[in-house]
């Protein structure tokens, strides 16, 4: 599965994107954030406050309880500040 990171999430993780093999039991966006937070200090820092991190599956906003089955691309980023 392709993961993308933007803004300070990207800076903290230290890379803009990566491909990961997910273990069984990672079913939702929230599960994925919890799993990522255990992958190392940089991930723990990026995902230390998952409540404020936003996510998108295949380029559409999703909530933490959204299932990730069938997703091609999942992105994590801070609240948006465009406009």
């Amino acid at each position: 599965m392709k993961l993308l990171y933007f803004a300070w999430v990207r800076e903290r993780v230290g890379k803009p994107q990566e491909d990961v093999e997910l273990p069984a039991g990672v079913a939702t966006v929230g599960d994925l954030m919890a799993w990522l937070a255990r992958r190392g200090d940089e991930y723990a820092h990026a995902f230390e406050n998952p409540k404020i991190i936003r996510a998108a599956i295949d380029r559409a906003h999703v909530r933490p309880d959204t299932a990730i089955a069938g997703a091609r691309e999942i992105a994590f980023f801070p609240p948006m500040t465009g406009g």
């Binding site: 993308l4 992105a75 500040t81 406009g83």
Partner: protein
């Protein structure tokens, strides 16, 4: 009705975009143009520049979704949204929203709706460059509140008032 949605690094010309939107049209009676501009100071402290990061692909798709929603809510005769990314100096434009309609109410309402959603839903992030350091702009609760007023009863009243 078609719409123009464009992301670009370079500045845009709001007057030229308005002329392009209305050229040859006699059905349009109102065009509202909103231009967001990079301020030279934040909270009283001068800034050197803003750098806008975006999510290519999703940014265009998310803006297009909200343009479609605006078109379903109001009788629009034309929409243009241009959003820049990359480094933007104080005084330069960041975003342009043009909405055209027969009468002004629809155009005003749709432009405000689109800007409220660009602020809170379009995947762009602003980084401030000031005093040799960079920092990410924090999202404002007031922007979320502005977007939320378009859902529910308040939005229906506003929509009815515009009709």
């Amino acid at each position: 009705m078609g719409a123009t949605v464009r992301l670009q690094r370079e500045p845009f010309d709001a007057a030229a975009e308005t002329a392009a939107l209305t050229r040859g049209r006699t059905d349009i009676g109102a065009v509202v143009a909103f231009t967001g501009i990079c301020r030279g100071a934040e909270d009283g402290a001068p800034i050197a520049a803003l750098t806008l990061e975006h999510y290519p692909g999703m940014a265009e798709a998310e803006i297009a979704r909200h343009v479609e929603e605006a078109q379903s809510r109001w009788a629009l005769l034309g929409v243009t949204v241009i959003h820049r990314y990359g480094r933007i100096a104080p005084g330069e434009p960041i975003v342009l929203v043009l909405t055209a309609s027969s009468h002004r109410h629809e155009a005003f309402a749709a432009a405000e709706f689109l800007m409220d959603f660009l602020k809170t839903r379009a995947p762009f992030w602003k980084q401030v460059e000031a005093a040799g350091a960079t920092s990410w702009v924090e999202a404002k609760q007031s922007d979320d509140s502005a977007a939320e007023r378009w859902s529910g009863a308040a939005a229906r009243r506003r929509r009815d008032a515009a009709e």
